[in-house]
């Protein structure tokens, strides 16, 4: 009968230093967050506008192209004129549809899911000292931030890009000739979602890193969003100056996303008299950079605690 060595066995394999070494963080948080009914509520709720759009697409498919032309006329675009071709209608329809799904109904969903997912991502690590565990493993503070940011980005893409892409896919498969319009709008759609994820993700992580309680981060997050919105609206009402809209955090997103989606082709869709695009870009860029600096400072502070 053999007697086996019961002593400590060294690991003989090698470690792969992957550039995606933050990925385990993402899978852990995804698994953990997907247990939340609130997360599911917002994830499924985000598909409601897409469902409406799919029904419209299906009706258009059943009734023929005239429905589409009538809808274009009714909904928005008198400016296309009589000479507009079917491709023009498709292109405008794709952009308008995506914009109206991203900016208006999804705005609250994006803010909510950002808060639900992001407010605890770092606060919880600080509360449970888990941040120290990360920093004793071969991952850098940048990997740590990337991992957390990726979690928020995935959820924001799930409530913005995924429903929009689903509608584009269904429309492309049902409406002949819609594929080209869908392809042309997809990069802009992706960019709009990526900017939303980057800015919202950085800001909520910055807030989360300032506290041990995700509740505080949530309160500050909604305060930033809604107080800035109310202030902007009040100042616009008082002064009749549309430039005050740049004070609003949400409105800055609306301005940038509308620009990315080509709002110049969509008169009166988002805002009238938009300010110079450099202003909202600079403001959101400043917010993102500040949040990342706060994040790095917090991580270093843990290292130096």
């Amino acid at each position: 009968m053999p007697v086996y060595d019961q002593s400590y066995r060294h690991w003989k394999g090698s470690f792969r230093r992957s550039p995606l070494r933050w990925a385990p963080m993402v899978s852990y948080h995804m698994k953990h967050l997907m247990r939340s009914k609130l997360v599911w509520f917002f994830l499924l709720g985000a598909f409601a506008p897409a469902l409406g759009a799919i029904i419209f697409v299906y009706v258009g498919y059943l009734e023929g192209p005239e429905v589409l032309s009538r809808a274009v006329d009714v909904l928005l675009i008198d400016s296309l004129g009589e000479s507009a071709t079917r491709d023009d209608e498709y292109r405008i329809m794709a952009r308008y549809g995506m914009l109206s799904m991203l900016v208006f109904p999804q705005s609250f969903v994006v803010l909510s899911i950002t808060s639900i997912v992001g407010s605890g991502l770092i606060a919880k690590d600080i509360r449970s000292n888990a941040l120290e565990i990360y920093l004793t493993k071969p991952i850098t503070p940048t990997d740590y931030i990337l991992g957390k940011l990726a979690v928020i980005a995935i959820f924001i893409f799930l409530v913005t890009f995924a429903p929009a892409a689903l509608v584009l896919l269904v429309a492309s498969s049902l409406w002949e000739g819609f594929g080209a319009a869908a392809l042309s709008v997809t990069p802009a759609l992706f960019l709009a979602c990526a900017i939303t994820a980057l800015v919202n993700g950085s800001v909520i992580l910055g807030l989360s890193s300032l506290t041990k309680s995700s509740r505080y981060a949530t309160v500050i997050w909604f305060a930033i969003c809604f107080v800035s919105q109310a202030t902007a609206s009040a100042l616009q009402e008082i002064t009749r100056e549309p430039m005050w809209q740049v004070i609003s955090y949400r409105q800055n997103f609306a301005l940038i996303i509308a620009e990315i989606m080509g709002s110049t082709e969509l008169p009166n869709v988002v805002v009238s008299d938009p300010p110079h695009m450099g202003i909202p870009i600079a403001l959101l860029g400043f917010a993102t950079l500040t949040a990342i600096l706060v994040l790095r400072r917090t991580i270093r502070a843990v290292e130096n605690a």
Partner: protein, 313 residues
């Protein structure tokens, strides 16, 4: 002597006006080294500097010949078991270990196997591994923390109070595991208050107080260098008083105390600066006095008394 694993050159760490570690210069060689000192001595801060968790305010700290601060690559060669709990409490030990495995570079099946193996080694029962960590006792948490430090096969292991909360059997098992790891070439730096367990593990110690290194090296050499503190030699004999008379005549014996144990047994506590001469002369004196020596011991030739002497200075 081999190259030091860890070295500090004039390393200091300040927290505002408070000096946690003050101008420390030292080398730590391979093997087990114990970091000892009273509360607030700066042990955890020194461990933080050694593991790259803390940036030295002044000076340089190196591990494996490279600066440790802001060098996460070195974390592949270093394992750290913190003094405080740092888990996601809703995870089970298995999930936590697999998560740590994946963070350190294990993939798929290798991560699962390695997590199970290390949990076996630290003695966490299989039925406990599948419960949420929030339900764990202090000892189970301690084992899980130790497992996460070991999981990536580090060459150098830092343990901050690793025995805290463990029952005697657990302490014995962990001590044996650490001894085994040291024999297999791992280097271990242990910070602890439990002196007798350190004595069982290693002779190499670093004594800290108020952020400064009070002594470093072999415990017996350090004791021998404390000339102002006479050795205490305890002798149990049936004719202690006669022995005491003879011993007090010796120049190197500074004091002798007698303690009655039973009717025919007494204990002598001899204070001397030359323990070697006392050991030489004892048989001769015993023969002269017709005394039967039952027991000889050195109650202060141990870590605790050295610790008390140095910290009390």
């Amino acid at each position: 002597m081999s190259a030091p694993l860890l070295s500090a050159r004039g390393a200091s760490k300040w927290y505002g006006q408070v000096i946690a570690v003050n101008d420390v210069t030292l080398d730590i060689q391979p093997g087990i080294t114990a970091l000892l000192g009273p509360n607030g001595a700066g042990k955890s801060t020194l461990l933080g500097l050694f593991t790259g968790q803390l940036r030295p305010t002044r000076g340089l700290v190196e591990a494996f010949g490279e600066p440790i601060w802001d060098n996460p690559r070195l974390n592949e060669r270093i394992g750290l078991c913190h003094q405080y709990d740092n888990f996601y409490e809703e995870m089970t030990a298995v999930e936590f270990l697999r998560f740590i495995c994946r963070l350190t570079g294990f993939r798929g099946t290798a991560a699962r196997q390695r997590a199970d193996y290390v949990l076996d080694r630290v003695g966490l029962e299989k039925c406990d591994r599948v419960r949420a960590i929030r339900t764990y006792s202090k000892g189970m948490r301690q084992r899980t923390k130790l497992a996460q430090a070991l999981v990536h096969e580090p060459e150098l292991l830092f343990l901050d109070e690793p025995m805290t909360g463990l029952d005697p059997v657990g302490r014995y098992e962990i001590s044996k595991l650490l001894e085994g790891l040291a024999k297999m070439g791992k280097s271990i730096v242990v910070s602890t208050h439990i002196l007798h367990e350190v004595e069982a593990l290693t002779d190499q110690i670093l004594l800290l107080a108020e952020g400064r290194i009070l002594a470093e090296g072999d415990i017996h050499q350090i004791r021998a260098s404390l000339e102002q503190h006479p050795y205490q030699i305890r002798v149990v004999s049936n004719a202690a008083r006669a022995l005491a008379v003879l011993l007090t005549a010796d120049e190197h014996v500074s004091a002798v105390k007698i303690q009655e144990l039973t009717v025919d047994r007494e204990a002598l506590t001899i204070s001397t600066t030359r323990a070697d001469l006392v050991f030489d002369s004892l048989p001769r004196h015993a023969q002269t006095a017709g005394a039967y020596i039952e027991e000889i011991s050195c109650p202060d030739d141990n870590l605790e008394s050295v610790f008390d002497y140095l910290v009390g200075q």
